[in-house]
Point group: C2
């Protein structure tokens, strides 16, 4: 798998006339060679040249960790000791000025040092190499996304019982995290936005106590075998607040319209528009304050971005969220989110819990 | 406090002829304006110009979070919507080519886009501005480091009881994390390296079961009121393994020698040498495989680096770890770590548990 990915990276480099790809600790490093390196002040850098064997510049202290990851089957190690300069080692590996792609999240301190050390070079964003690899999921990746999608569905099936009146968001959130952990390797995030807190899309959990008549947004995700889940459903404690029923109906229609619009050849922005048009027509347009979705895979947010202005054409194998939301400040919010996979025939939904709000408590 | 820090940053900019400092989500952002921003694909960027009001470029979705942090008392918000280009906003704020300092951990994707957008500029590492601010702790910071040092000491006082034979490292580690959480806001790391695992300085915890005669390295740290603790002590289960007693005596002498060497005007590398010389003379030189220490403050690893080749002169108010170690592959390791503060009179130790190994189990 990793040899294949490295080969595809080399093909991208050759096609685009880039001499090497430089990758620090990141999802791309995991993706390319399976090494989960720690982001440290001591530089770890994978150098994938357009031709030849990838080199992994590694602090000596991290050699054992690099070896345990299995990455050393695909790379040559270039260890550096505590008093050596790793930038000089990278410069030697690069062998002179050229065009180099820098992984998106490499710390700028390293990039600026490299720019200084290999003067006269051209530096381009690493996504020029990685986008094409990561945006199309292989059959194995699709299967892993299906599995992690089913895992988060099983969590949502147990959430209603946890949202009892009198409990704090934080307590419910802790229980949900436990449920995620049972079937994921890692909990990525838990949002329990009750009442007015649901109107802040990025509210996590707080001290607010759940009450009868609260609407609650529950947006949760984890990582399982290296791939991420992300799914949002809405709950009401006892009964829905005033006006919520109608709002949620609009949201369901908008989310369904966007899912139905997914097919190869359709643009990312048209999926955003499909959801937004329904919400706007119903008079809630100003309350849908974010993009419709984001890609997902080894990271919880990655390309493609499902947003106005992105005319990228969808292709078989892309995976992303469809998550329109409607937010009424000081009262409540609602968001419905599924991960979908573009297939040759149209779309496959990786989250399959009912989309109506669930009565809890 | 934050106005003072911003003022000092401006002074650095003016002194060094830098037009502005650009800071993304990072410890520096927390340090300068108290805002703990999430590192997202949506750009958050603080721009501190050499003259004038700092600007905070913020995704609209993050405005509430930025406001809740209190940062808006010191900065002007430059919000950007989901379909806007934040790089264009930064370019407008910068107002043309110049010399700009980029915070060390800003994602390279943003730096490369900025370099493209404001062509003809000079880009320098942000540490040129931040180093001088962060490396000297103010009286308030010293007090916070004292408090968090005492907090981790209280945890070490309870560790021996947790290292019973038959328990796994992971179980002991989980209990230690609970203890850290009681008196810190966050657990940063828990290392429980038993027997041969202790010989890997970066081993965290594993499935290994503690046995009679194990030596165990316990290196732990957390964050409390924004400042970090980091302290290592050694334990033995029941009784020490063969040869360990002598090795630990050497290590104690080395660590004490380095602490005693600390004073204003002394170089960082001479502190490393003070510990290393003792270990080398005793014949363990090749088994001390890392630098002697690292600075600490709002980050667990920051400047100054206590390492051969660093001729930085210590000054009143610097805080760093002194943590020599001796590692015997396949058998055991030992490391003693205290955080020390350089004072006008010499040195103040912020960790004060006895340094001999502790019999546990």
């Amino acid at each position: 798998m990793f040899s294949d990915r490295l080969e595809r990276a080399r093909t991208q480099l050759q096609t685009k006339g880039i001499d090497a790809l430089l990758v620090g600790p990141s999802a791309d490093l995991r993706y390319l060679v399976g090494y989960e390196a720690l982001p440290l002040e001591r530089l770890t850098l994978l150098i994938v040249p357009a031709e030849g064997v990838p080199q992994l510049v590694t602090p000596e202290l991290e050699i054992a960790r690099a070896q345990d990851s299995g990455a050393t089957r695909f790379v040559e190690l270039r260890p550096w000791g505590e008093t050596e300069d790793p930038i000089a080692i990278v410069r030697d590996v690069l062998g002179g000025p050229g065009t180099f792609a820098v992984q998106d999240r490499l710390w700028s301190s390293f990039t600026l040092q490299l720019q200084d050390a290999v003067e006269g070079s051209t530096w381009v964003p690493g996504t020029q190499v990685m986008r094409e690899l990561r945006i199309i999921k292989t059959p194995e990746e699709r299967e892993l996304l299906r599995e992690v999608g089913a895992a988060i569905d099983r969590v949502h099936a147990q959430v209603a019982a946890l949202l009892r009146p009198g409990r704090r968001e934080r307590e419910a959130g802790r229980d949900i995290a436990e449920l995620i952990r049972e079937d994921h390797d890692e909990v990525n995030f838990v949002i329990v936005g009750s009442g007015p807190n649901g109107a802040s899309p990025h509210h996590e959990t707080g001290d607010r106590i759940l009450e009868e008549g609260d609407a609650v947004v529950v947006d949760i995700g984890g990582t399982r075998q290296g791939y991420c889940s992300d799914c949002t459903r809405n709950y009401v404690v006892g009964h829905p607040p005033e006006g919520y029923d109608e709002l949620h109906n609009v949201l369901e229609a908008a989310q369904a319209a966007a899912v139905q619009a997914v097919a190869p050849g359709v643009t990312a922005e048209s999926i955003d528009a499909a959801a937004r048009d329904v919400i706007t027509e119903a008079g809630y347009g100003e309350r849908f304050i974010h993009r419709t979705g984001h890609g997902i895979g080894v990271e919880e947010h990655e390309e493609p971005w499902i947003v106005a202005g992105n005319d990228l054409e969808l292709r078989d194998g892309m995976a992303f969220s469809i998550e329109p939301g409607i937010y009424v400040p000081d009262r409540y919010g609602a968001r419905i989110e599924d991960i979908v996979l573009v297939t040759s025939g149209g779309v496959e939904n990786l989250n399959n819990r009912p989309r109506g709000f669930v009565v809890a408590g």
